[in-house]
């Protein structure tokens, strides 16, 4: 969860904190009610046991029915997890007509209803008592990576190709840009303001910040992220729209949301001119920019109450008010689904139109975008009984100059921690997964067929972070100590673990930091008490992948978390400039930290300055020798020579 989301949760807590339970629910009163029941209890219990056995049977039968499409007299001892039917088709299937799509959605709905039906009280109580405790532990884990993932691969060397004079958004894949709340072109800063509706353009020249333009969007729109295309001189705003925000209550059931792309010509930076508007159904999920095209991903769920078979617009997403064509709907590998991820490519030369669009029907998945392909992956599991035994299905769609072509599909065992655990290199897709209590490495070829694998790694641990860099991959699993595994991927058919370094704590973000170095950002954990004690920086010496060493560490004792753990865009790391920057939280609030690293002296903390703005997560951006720490409406500038504050501005 990002800071913004945590803030909303906190707000809800605050606003409900004065609600008190009525007297009838007070514990003293409850005792009386329960004691009255006590007398009848024995009789009820016996009856309930009977009901429970019956409910169990219905559940098993119910699953068999819709999985196999037969009346399903499956033997009772068969594990439902193994029955999960994933299509063996090798390529992504397109819908032949809307009816076919309707049937997928209908099957999904039926499955949910079936679930509700068998979900009798006893069953829940039974399941909860069986599962809750174990589940909770297993799952505590998975909190970190939100929505889409990823960051930069540009850094085998640790910096962008030419040693640039200003920083860029930390991205997952080198060469594929990602949107963010702050951007710079080396002269101006572009900052999304706290209200989400305004963007400020700030001139940084002459060592003094000056707000030169404020761009506003309409009342019902919220800017999510922005892009700068410096070649075509474009500013792109990706906005969410809440169309029915103010309409009457009955209409609110129609709510599905949509995502808008506003494109501005920036030939004159201080006079942006709107040249395009594009809209598609669904909440904003993510986006990429490559080669002058924006690739927009949004998430659409049909609204049950309004779905009518004969009206495709009631369950098929729209792109600029047209229903997506049947042939552009990519069907899932399992036989039901409800959510669509809508993908459109938008040419920056013609930013009001979709160059191409696809709708990926799913139950909700994530994406990884390589330099050529979009990989859509989703965890498929049994919703009822066996949820530790996941499989991940993967569909690929290639992209080139705006053209989207559905390609191969495949699957692996286990779930994918975040998009750093899936990586394309030389035509092979390498994936690190966690399955049940173990971890695996898979190598898939261009047809998404597994050609090499290592399974049963690091029992009882799970993947916390990964970085697959060319022929060598690194990943961190954790339970009590942090093994950093090195895996040799040079032979796709025979991936091999070549090193495992155990150190206390764990890294939940890995970033290549110059030649033979890998930076880990995570938490330190006391080995005896298992209590986390502050953010930990680690520099791994990976010059010999078979003998990785912990070369330097630094523990920020009272800093209990950092945004980098779940949002890679919050990291500023550039080995060329030797700067590591991020925001951390402590009891005193939020501060921005800047470190330098050298092999002799280890990490050197150069700066620790309070962050004064509100709003979404803080960013550090540098232009030449000035570091700008930006959060919400406040920008504070520091000299990178002496780390003294040189300027600030409130937008």
């Amino acid at each position: 969860m990002n800071k913004r989301e945590q803030d909303i949760i906190q707000k809800l807590k605050d606003k409900t904190s004065d609600i008190t339970a009525p007297d009838s629910l007070k514990p003293e009163q409850i005792i009386r009610t329960l004691e009255k029941k006590e007398n009848k209890k024995r009789k009820i219990s016996l009856f309930r046991i009977g009901a429970l056995a019956a409910a169990c049977f219905v559940l098993v039968a119910g699953i068999a029915v819709y999985r196999n499409g037969s009346t399903g007299h499956k033997p009772k001892e068969e594990k439902p997890g193994e029955e999960l039917k994933i299509s063996s088709e090798k390529s992504v299937a397109s819908a032949s007509d809307y009816d076919e799509v309707y049937d997928y959605i209908e099957r999904y709905r039926k499955a949910i209803e079936e679930e509700a039906r068998v979900y009798e009280e006893d069953m829940i109580a039974y399941e909860a008592s069986e599962g809750a405790a174990e589940t909770k532990k297993e799952q505590d884990i998975m909190e970190s990576s939100d929505a889409d993932a990823g960051t930069t691969d540009r850094m085998l060397t640790g910096g962008s190709a030419e040693s640039s004079s200003y920083s860029e958004t930390n991205v997952r894949q080198e060469g594929v840009d990602e949107g963010d709340v702050v951007k710079t072109d080396g002269t101006y800063l572009y900052v999304l303001k706290e209200n989400g509706r305004e963007l400020s353009i700030v001139d940084t020249r002459g060592g003094k910040m000056k707000e030169v333009y404020t761009l506003s969007v309409e009342e019902n729109q919220r800017i999510q992220e922005m892009y700068l295309d410096s070649v075509k001189k474009r500013l792109v705003l990706v906005c969410s729209i809440n169309e029915n925000e103010s309409s009457n209550t009955a209409k609110m059931y129609f709510y599905t949301g949509s995502t808008k792309v506003l494109t501005y010509d920036m030939k004159e930076t201080e006079k942006p001119k709107k040249i395009g508007e594009f809209v598609q159904s669904g909440q904003y999920q993510s986006s990429r920019m490559s080669d002058g095209y924006l690739y927009l991903f949004s998430n659409y769920s049909a609204v049950w109450e309004h779905i009518k078979r004969e009206l495709p617009e009631t369950y098929i997403p729209l792109v600029n008010d047209s229903v997506i064509a049947e042939k552009d709907i990519c069907l899932p590998q399992i036989e039901k689904g409800r959510d669509f991820t809508v993908v459109s490519s938008i040419d920056m030369e013609n930013p009001s139109e979709a160059a191409d669009s696809k709708a990926i029907l799913s139950q909700g998945g994530q994406l990884y975008v390589s330099n050529k392909n979009i990989y859509y992956y989703e965890t498929v599991w049994d919703n009822y009984l066996v949820y530790e035994d996941e499989q991940t299905t993967i569909r690929s769609i290639s992209y080139e100059k705006g053209v989207l072509r559905p390609g191969a599909q495949g699957k692996v065992e286990g779930y994918i921690n975040d998009s750093f655990s899936i990586d394309e290199y030389k035509g092979y897709l390498r994936i690190v997964t966690t399955r049940k209590n173990t971890n695996s490495v898979y190598v898939l070829d261009g047809n998404l067929e597994i050609v090499g694998s290592i399974e049963n790694l690091a029992k009882d641990e799970r993947v916390y972070s990964a970085r697959l860099m060319g022929d060598t991959g690194y990943f961190v699993t954790f339970r009590e100590t942090d093994p950093l595994f090195s895996v040799d991927l040079s032979n796709p058919k025979r991936p091999e673990i070549i090193g495992a370094l155990k150190i206390p704590g764990f890294s939940d973000y890995l970033h290549p930091y110059g030649d033979g170095k890998l930076l880990g950002i995570g938490m330190n954990v006391d080995e005896l008490t298992q209590i986390t004690e502050g953010v930990k920086l680690t520099m791994f010496d990976i010059s010999d992948p078979t003998d990785v060493k912990e070369e330097g560490t630094y523990i920020l004792k009272n800093v209990y978390s950092t945004d980098v753990s779940y949002d890679y865009k919050a990291a500023l790391a550039d080995a060329g400039k030797n700067i590591i920057g991020f925001a951390g939280y402590s009891d005193g609030g939020q501060s921005y930290y800047v470190f330098e690293y050298d092999s002799d002296n280890g990490f050197i903390c150069r700066m620790e300055e309070e962050i004064n703005g509100n709003g979404s997560s803080a960013r550090g951006v540098y232009i030449e020798q000035t570091l700008y720490v930006i959060q919400g409406n406040i920008i504070e500038a520091y000299s990178l020579k002496d780390y003294k504050k040189v300027d600030d501005i409130i937008l």
Partner: protein, 159 residues
């Protein structure tokens, strides 16, 4: 586990306010919320022997309560369908002596039932996405993306 009414009430004491707030946000009506909690309590007590570990009591209670709320809402929706005209009406009955802040009420209102449960469990149960996944029998990734979407919707309405 073995548990008499007194022990049950002790465990319940630690969480009943949050249980009630959770139900209140979902049901949006004091009486409905009160009924849902008391139903859940009775159902839980009758089944307490199936609870293996005391530590799981809280998530177990939230699971049962969320299911009772779901059923009540479904029932209400069916009734509403028959009484389409009265749909815009406020729930009948006297003005409650405490009410949900209007923006919180509206923020919950625009959510789907499933989203309401996810948000309710996050706010009042303090659960993370993995735990919610366990309680609701959903995929943790799905919970995360649904939670993000729900919060984005709510953000626009909360003051």
């Amino acid at each position: 586990m073995k548990c008499d009414a007194k022990r049950f009430a002790q465990m319940y004491e630690a969480i009943y306010t949050d249980l009630y707030r959770f139900a209140f946000c979902l049901m949006k009506n004091q009486q409905e919320a009160e009924d849902a909690v008391s139903e859940a309590v009775i159902s839980a007590y009758e089944n307490i022997r199936k609870l293996r570990k005391e530590e799981a009591f809280k998530s177990w209670m939230f699971t049962i309560l969320s299911n009772h709320c779901k059923k009540r809402l479904q029932r209400a929706a069916q009734e509403e369908a028959h009484l389409a005209d009265s749909m815009q009406e406020e729930p009948a009955g006297e003005e409650p002596d405490q009410s949900l802040a209007l923006d919180v009420r509206n923020a919950f209102f625009i959510l789907t039932e499933e989203e309401q449960t996810i948000i309710g469990l996050s706010v009042f149960g303090g659960y993370n996405s993995g735990e919610i996944a366990g309680i609701m029998k959903l995929n943790a990734n799905t919970v995360r993306s649904k939670r993000s979407r729900a919060l984005a919707k709510m953000e626009c309405i909360l003051q």
